[in-house]
C-alpha cells in the first residue's frame, strides 16, 4: 500500500463529503452549484488516487480518461445549472 495513494484517497472522501453537505445545506443556489462541483472534485481525486501506482510504475489510464471526461461534463452541467438559476431568478422577479 502506497502512502500517497491513501493520503489522496482519504482527502478525496473528505472533499466529497464536504461538497455533499454544502449542496444539501446551503440556501444560495449558486453556492449549491459550487458545492456540487467540490463534491465532483472529491470523486475525481478518489479515482486518480486509485489509478496511482507509485512514482516508478505508470498509472492506470482508464480512471484518468473517466476523470477527464468528468471535468468537461461537470463544467457544462454547471453552465446549465447557472442558466436554470438565472431563469428562476428572472421568473421570481416578475412576480
Amino acid at each position: 500500500m502506497l502512502t500517497a495513494q491513501w493520503m489522496y484517497g482519504l482527502a478525496g472522501c473528505v472533499i466529497m463529503a464536504l461538497g455533499l453537505r454544502g449542496a444539501l445545506l446551503h440556501a444560495s443556489l449558486l453556492q449549491r452549484i459550487v458545492a456540487i462541483n467540490v463534491m465532483g472534485a472529491g470523486v475525481f481525486m478518489l479515482l486518480v488516487a486509485v489509478a496511482y501506482r507509485g512514482p516508478v510504475l505508470p498509472p492506470d489510464p482508464l480512471p484518468h480518461a473517466l476523470v477527464l471526461t468528468g471535468i468537461v461534463v461537470a463544467v457544462s452541467a454547471t453552465a446549465l445549472a447557472l442558466a436554470l438559476a438565472r431563469r428562476l431568478h428572472a421568473e421570481q422577479e416578475d412576480d
Binding site: 489522496y8 484517497g9 472522501c13 455533499l20 449558486l30 471535468i71 468537461v72 457544462s76 431563469r87
Partner: protein, 341 residues
C-alpha cells in the same frame, strides 16, 4: 526520490486543498465562495500533476482556471441579491430555529458516515493487490490503437462509445441552455491594459490548442484539453467586451456544434457498412481516423463550452451591433474594435 520530504509535500498540498474546499463552502458570501473555489481548482491542477495524471491536469488547468471561474464570477456579478429559492429569510440559512439546527447536524452526521464508509472501502481496496487486468489489456493493445498516449487510446478507441455519448451530453446541455433564454448581455469594452494583453493572448491560446490536439496522439493532450483552451480564447474575447468572439452564426454554428457527434457517428456507421464492428477502426487507419474525429470533436467542444459560457442563445452580431450603437458613449471604442477586426 527522498522518502521523507515527498509525504511532507503531499501533506501540505492536501491540507491546502481540503482547507480551500471547506472554506469555500463555510462562507455565505457568494463572491468569496467563488474566489475560494477558483483557488481550489488551481491547487487541484498541481495535485493531478503530482499523481502523474498530466492529461487530467491539463483539463483542470484549462477549465478550472479559464472557464468555470469566469462562468461562476459572471453569475455572481449578475445577481444584485443572493440567488436563493423562496424568500430571502431562509431558516436553513439562519440555522437559528431548533429544526434547522437538528437538520444541520443530521446532514453533517450522515455525510461524515458516508465519508467514513467510502474511506473504509478504499482502504480495503488499497490493502489488496490491485487488479491490473485492465491496465495490462490497455498497454497490450496500445500498439494497435493508432495512438501511443494510453488516455487518448481509451477515449477514442477502446471506449469510443463513451466519448461519443459524452459529446452528445455536451450537446444536450447546450440545447438545454438555449431553451432557457437569450445569452447574457456581455461585458463593457475593456481598458487599454487588458486589451493589449488580449491582442497577443488570443492567438497564443489558439496556437496552444492546435498544439495540444496534435500531441494528444503520443503525449498528454487531446480534443478535450484543446477544445477547452479554444473556448477559453473566446471567453477572453468576451471578457474584453468584443461582440465577435469567434463563434460562427446561424447554420454554420449548428454544423460546428454537431460536428463531433456527427463525424463520430458517420465513421462508426461507415465501419458497420464495411463489415467491421461499430467504431472498430482498422489498425492501419486508426491513427488518421482518431485525428479526424478529434479535430471535429475539438471544434464542437470549444463551441459548446463557449456557448455554455454565454448562458443562452447568442444574438446575431448584427443585432448586437445595433443595440451597441444605440448604446452611445461607453461602447465607442468597442465599435472601433469590431471594424478593425
Amino acid at each position: 526520490m527522498s522518502p521523507v520530504s515527498l509525504p511532507l509535500f503531499d501533506a501540505l498540498l492536501l491540507f491546502s486543498i481540503v482547507g480551500l474546499a471547506w472554506a469555500s463552502l463555510a462562507t455565505t458570501d457568494e463572491r468569496r465562495s467563488v474566489i475560494l473555489f477558483i483557488a481550489f481548482g488551481l491547487v487541484l491542477a498541481v495535485a493531478w500533476g503530482r499523481l502523474l495524471a498530466p492529461d487530467v491536469a491539463l483539463a483542470e488547468a484549462a477549465i478550472g482556471a479559464g472557464l468555470s471561474g469566469a462562468l461562476l464570477l459572471g453569475a455572481v456579478h449578475r445577481q444584485p441579491r443572493p440567488l436563493s429559492p423562496g424568500s430571502t429569510n431562509d431558516s436553513r440559512n439562519q440555522g437559528a430555529t431548533g429544526m434547522g439546527v437538528v437538520l444541520r447536524w443530521v446532514v453533517t452526521l450522515l455525510c461524515t458516515a458516508l465519508a467514513g464508509t467510502l474511506a473504509w472501502a478504499l482502504l480495503h481496496a488499497f490493502s489488496s493487490v490491485p487488479h491490473d487486468m485492465l491496465p495490462r489489456a490497455i498497454s497490450g493493445n496500445l500498439a494497435a490503437s493508432g495512438v501511443s498516449n494510453p488516455v487518448t487510446a481509451v477515449l477514442l478507441n477502446f471506449r469510443a462509445y463513451d466519448t461519443l455519448l459524452e459529446l452528445a451530453v455536451l450537446l444536450t446541455a447546450v440545447l438545454g441552455i438555449f431553451a432557457l433564454g437569450q445569452a447574457n448581455p456581455g461585458y463593457q469594452p475593456a481598458g487599454p491594459v487588458f486589451d493589449s494583453l488580449v491582442r497577443w493572448l488570443v492567438p497564443v491560446l489558439i496556437l496552444t490548442s492546435g498544439y495540444l490536439l496534435w500531441v494528444g496522439a503520443h503525449a498528454p493532450g487531446g480534443a478535450f484539453q484543446a477544445g477547452a483552451i479554444l473556448a477559453a480564447a473566446g471567453v477572453v474575447l468576451r471578457l474584453a467586451g468584443r461582440t465577435r468572439i469567434g463563434l460562427p452564426e446561424g447554420f454554420m454554428l449548428r454544423i460546428v456544434m454537431a460536428a463531433g457527434v456527427g463525424l463520430f457517428l458517420l465513421v462508426g456507421l461507415t465501419l458497420l457498412l464495411l463489415g467491421r464492428p461499430f467504431l472498430g477502426y482498422p489498425p492501419a487507419w486508426a491513427g488518421s481516423l482518431i485525428l479526424l474525429i478529434e479535430t471535429a470533436a475539438m471544434l464542437s467542444i470549444a463551441a459548446t463550452l463557449l456557448l455554455a459560457f454565454l448562458g443562452g442563445r447568442p444574438e446575431s452580431p448584427a443585432h448586437a451591433a445595433r443595440t451597441e450603437s444605440a448604446n452611445t458613449t461607453a461602447s465607442n471604442s468597442g465599435n472601433e474594435e469590431q471594424t478593425r477586426c
